[in-house]
C-alpha cells in the first residue's frame, strides 16, 4: 500500500509540475490542481497509513491520527477557493490581454501558427 500511495503522490506531483511549466493558463491551472491533489494526499499520509482504524478513540483497537485529516480538510477548502480565483483570473486575462499566454503576449519564437498570434 505504501508503494502505491507513494507512486500516486509522485506521479501527481510530476504531472502537476510539468503542467505548471506550460505557457498557457489553462494547463497551468490544471497543473496547480494536480499539485494540490498530490499535496493533500501527502498531508493525509503524514498521520501514517493504516487500514481499519477510525479517528475516534474506543471504536477500534488501533486508531488513526485525526490531525492530518483536519489539516487536509483545511487545505482542500483553501485550495478550492484559490483554484476558483485563478480560473476567474485566467479568464479575465484572456479577455483583457487578448490571449491565454501566462505572459500576456505570445513570444516571437513560439510554435503557434500566425493566425493565433496577435
Amino acid at each position: 500500500m505504501e508503494m502505491l500511495f507513494a507512486l500516486c503522490v509522485g506521479v501527481l506531483t510530476t504531472c502537476g509540475v510539468f503542467m505548471i511549466l506550460r505557457s498557457r493558463t489553462f494547463p497551468v491551472v490544471i497543473g496547480l490542481t494536480l499539485l494540490g491533489y498530490a499535496v493533500n494526499l501527502f498531508l493525509f499520509s503524514t498521520g501514517r497509513l493504516s487500514i481499519n482504524s477510525a479517528a475516534i478513540i474506543g471504536s477500534t483497537t488501533e486508531y488513526a491520527d485525526p490531525l492530518p485529516q483536519a489539516l487536509v480538510l483545511t487545505a482542500i477548502v483553501i485550495g478550492f477557493a484559490m483554484t476558483a480565483f485563478v480560473v476567474i483570473l485566467a479568464m479575465r486575462g484572456r479577455g483583457d490581454l487578448g490571449n491565454d499566454h501566462v505572459d500576456g503576449r505570445i513570444p516571437e519564437h513560439s510554435s503557434l501558427s500566425d493566425k493565433e498570434r496577435k
Partner: protein, 507 residues
Amino acid sequence: MSHLVVLPFLLPIFGGLLLLLPPIQNALNHQRIFAIFTSILLILVSATLLHTSYTQGTQLYMLGGWQPPFGIALVADPLASLLVLLTAILGLAAILFACSGDDETGMYYHTLILLLIAGVNGAFLTGDLFNLFVCFEILLIASYALLVHGGGKHKTQASLHYVILNLVGSSIFLIALGILYGMLGTLNIADMARKLPLLTEDDQLLVKVAGLLLLVVFGLKSAMLPLHFWLPRTYASASAPVAAMFAIMTKVGIYSIFRVHTVIFGENAGNLAFMAQYWLWPIAILTLFMGAVGALASSNLRLLTANMILISIGTLLVGTAIASEQAAGASFYYLLHTTFVSAAMFLIADLISRQRGKAEDRFVQARQMKQRDLLAGLFFIAAVAMVGMPPLSGFIGKALLLQSADSGAAMLWSWSAILLAGLAAIIALSRAGTTLFWRVSSINDEGEKVPTAKLIAIVMLLSCSPLMVIFAGPITAVTTTAAAVLHDPALSVDALLPTITQQLGGY
C-alpha cells in the same frame, strides 16, 4: 486570560465584515469613516498589546482554551506585537490615502484592506505553523483581490504571475508542514523546537529538507534572490495605497524566517543548528546586488521603489544570516524604518505621476508639476531616509546592523554589500530626483492639487522616520528585548508550553 492578544486579528476581520452590511455599505462615506475608525482602534489595541508584552513579558493566548501543544496558541511576544503595531499604522495610512479617490475605482477596497491586515496580524501573532499557513492564505487572497483592484491590463498580467507563484508556494509550504508533522508529531513552533534535538540522524535529514523548503516559501514571500522576479512588476502595477500596504507583506516572509529559523532551527537544534545561514549569506548578498542593479536600471519611480524594497530585503536577510541577537535587534529596527519609508515612497510616486500628465512617473522630460516644491520636499525626505543617510532613521538602522557584524568574514561581506547597495541607491534616487523635478519642458498650471487626506497619509508615514530617530532609545530598547526573547529558549520555547514544562519540573 486576557483577550487582548486575539483582538488585532478579530478586530479587522469583524470590521471588514461589518463594512459589507447595508447601513455602512450603502454610502462610500460611511465605509470610509468606519474603516478609519476601525484602523485607529486597531492602532490603540496594538499599542496596548505592545506595552503589555514589553512590560509583562510574552502573552500566551490559547484559542478555545486548549493547552498549547494540542490546541492553537497565539503568541504575543514583543517582536510580534511591534510588527502588529507597524501593520496597524500602515493600514491607517493606506485607508486614509485611498479615501480621496482610489477606493472608488473598484468595490470593497476597505473590506479587502482590513482582511489583509487581519491576515498579516494573524501571521505575526500565531505560535502554530499550520495557522501561519492559514494566515498566509488569508493575506494572500486579500492581496490577490487588491492587486487587480481598479482593473487594467498591466494589473491582470502582473497578478496572474503573482497568484500562480504564490499558489505553488502554498503547495510547497504544505509539503514542508506535512514532513515536519510526520517527523515531529506537532505543529506548535515551540513544541517543534523542543522535539527537534530528540530525532535520530535519518529523521533529521528529512526535517532538514522540510526546513529548507520552508525557507524557499518564506523566500518567495519576501522576494529573496532567485524568487524575486515577481516583485518589481507586481508592486509597480498595483495602485499606490495597495503597493504601500504590500510593503508589509515582504516583511511577513522575513519575520517568518526569523521566527522559524531562530526558534526551531536555532542554536539548540543540534546538528541542524543554523542550517539556513549557509544559504542565507550568498542569497542576501546577491539580493542586495540585484536590487542595486535593478534600482540603477529602473525607468520609473514606482519600479525604482520596488527595487529599493529588494535592497531593503537584502539588508534584512544579511541580518538573518548573521544570526546573532544583536543583529536581530538591529534588523527589527531597520524593518520598521524601511516599511514606513518605502510605503511613503509609493504614495509619493502616485502624487508625482498624477501631476505630470502623460509622462506619469517615468524618468523623462515633462511639464512642471503644479505643486513642485511640496512634492520635491516630500521626495527628498523619503529619499534621504531610504538610502540611509543621517539624520533620518535609515542611517541608524544600517549603522546598528553593520555594528552587529563583528567577525571578520561577516563584516567584510555585509559592510561592502550594504554600503555599495547604498551607493547605488543614492545614484539612482538622485538621478530620479533631478529628472523628475528639474528637467522641465513647460510650465502650466493644469492638473489636480494634492488632496489633504493623501498629504496627511504621507506626512504620517514620513514623520515616523524622524520620530524613530528622536525616540531611538526606547525603540531600540524594544527591538533589543524582542531579539532577546526570540533568542532565549526559556522565553521563546519553554514559557509557551506551560503544561509540559510544569510536568517536567514536577518530576
